[in-house]
Symmetry: C2
Subunit: 341 residues, 2 copies
């Protein structure tokens, strides 16, 4: 096992009897270098097994080819898909994705952002943790870390943003239940500190008001955004005075937890009580869950976020772009519409 030292541009240059400048230019497909020289260089590189050192290069160019990808919970299928799609788009353009699962922790997010800067990242796709304020974000831009906000916007940030029309989605979901005749509709889940969560609840409230239904605070239940939490809280939801006949879940995870809990109690979703979710993750379409939900463009969001970043890297001073994807109701059994119609 020979411990041969790393080959460098200089070695290639020496072997070929040219300058390092020539080799460098050849590698970068510069038009300054003669075609036959380039071929010579490239074949020599292959021959001796040289590998380019991007760090050395980026020290000069200032660009690293790396992009941060931070979400608060990528085991959440919604984010898994968004991330998968973003990663794919980034990879197609030859960029690497630096992953961060921020666990809704502001310190973790800050450490990650700082690390991104230390590593000379070119940009960041960020779904900010709850509690992120403009002040923490503004430095990103001045620091030279172009950022696209994903799913969760930050008031006053004025950054590129791509996300869902949360308000509309929940208007849609709630209205659907109202149209089915429900008058007492509970809303479960959602950390309200995030803008997206507030919007979701607003959509729910809008629908109630528009249809002349009262907004009863006792029908609002908060819980962490995963199924187990929803499952746990459900008995409480059902045990209030004049309990809801329908439930809107903050997300499919919540709604599926509700379904699960209902079944455990011997209740039949869609018959005894109506349930609607949001996100349309894979699990909701199974024949055993058949969750009525709102479909959102998960992979499109990831792709568009990456694409916005590319554009910003091209043109740092363009005005911030925004893209809000439309959502649509997907009616399955859990809302009982199949029975009614």
């Amino acid at each position: 096992m020979v411990q041969k030292k790393n080959l460098t541009l200089k070695d290639i240059a020496k072997e070929l009897g040219v300058s390092t400048a020539t080799v460098s230019l050849a590698i970068n497909n510069s038009s300054l270098v003669a075609e036959k020289t380039r071929l010579l260089v490239l074949s020599k590189i292959k021959e001796v097994g040289y590998v380019y050192n991007r760090r050395a290069a980026s020290l000069i160019t200032g660009k690293s080819g790396m992009v941060g990808l931070a979400v608060h919970d990528f085991t959440n299928p919604y984010f898994t898909e968004v991330c998968a799609s973003a990663e794919k788009t980034l990879a197609q353009e030859g960029r690497m994705s630096l992953l961060c699962n921020s666990h809704e922790s502001l310190p973790l997010q800050e450490r990650f952002i700082n690390a991104l800067i230390e590593h000379n990242s070119d940009g960041l796709l960020l779904c900010p943790v709850v509690g992120t304020e403009v002040e923490q974000l503004q430095p990103l831009l001045t620091r030279g870390l172009p950022t696209v906000l994903v799913t969760r916007d930050v008031d006053g940030a004025n950054m590129d943003f791509v996300g869902n029309d949360e308000r509309f989605s929940f208007h849609l979901a709630t209205r659907h239940l109202i149209n089915l005749g429900h008058k007492r509709i509970a809303f479960i889940g959602g950390a309200l500190d995030a803008k997206a969560a507030r919007d979701r609840r607003s959509g729910y409230v809008d629908a109630l008001k528009l249809n002349g239904l009262p907004v009863d605070e006792r029908l609002l239940f908060d819980c962490d955004n995963h199924s187990e939490a929803a499952e746990k809280i459900l008995p409480e939801v059902l045990s209030i005075e004049s309990p809801p006949t329908a439930i809107v879940g903050f997300s499919d995870l919540i709604a599926l937890g509700v379904l699960s809990a209902l079944i455990a109690l011997g209740l039949e979703p869609g018959k005894d009580i109506a349930v609607v979710g949001c996100d349309n993750i894979a699990e909701s379409s199974r024949h055993y869950s058949q969750l009525t939900t709102v479909n959102v463009q998960k992979s499109q969001i990831g792709q568009m976020a990456a694409s916005f970043l590319f554009q910003r890297l091209q043109n740092p001073h363009m005005p911030p772009q925004r893209k809000i994807f439309e959502s649509e109701l997907i009616v399955r059994r859990s809302c009982g519409a199949y029975r009614v119609s």
Copy 2:
């Protein structure tokens, strides 16, 4: 908006009237620098908002603090969890995770590995794509990219490995069905080119043979590792001559697809036909699915993989380590054991 140039060590040094060496040593908490000098340096750094440039440093040290994390499908909940846990462990040690979703594509995997080297990654946590041979892996080590194989081993690679006892798991699952009286047990799913998949099927075959049951090739069905594929193939499974009374799924994704398809056909899992999966992903524990499955240590695997890598970085020449996590059967309704017992 003043476009102030990047602050460097040199600027800090100049401001403080010391040398860059002192500043560098202070930043790195070297004992060579006097305590009060270090404090001076650190406070100045905070004051002027200097950020460390890791790329410049790594050019000399050779270490980047970045680790690759490559799986073939991280939307698969099993891998999502493994990755989440690996990322967390890596982050705790101050390392960044470079993500790659290889989509079972050898070229993508190769490009990623090459990029890792170009970027001076310190190591790699790899679940190799189907078809990965020793030849493609060996360069990693000589190239200075210490690698831990995760979940899927590669014959002859002789690398650090952490994964499941696949064979045992499927022995467990199959034996359980046999004990419940089943004689015709189908096996669905699994790309057989991966070692882990072969092991799974071996476990199934072992159990049959050990219990004097014939291995019927017609009970083996291949399909992609996701629920939709399983759902699609199920009717075919049920329509063979003397159809199976039980099904072992290659994974929970497969088994859940089977459950879904059964329900669509009006059949009751656990009563009309028994189903067992493997992985114990969240979805299988819901009250509406209640999938009997084999639990595997997803987050432990991610964590241990990271930990193996740390050890190897510490001590590059230690003999390869292996860790196979034990699995255990989790009996729920889908296998019908509740009815029988």
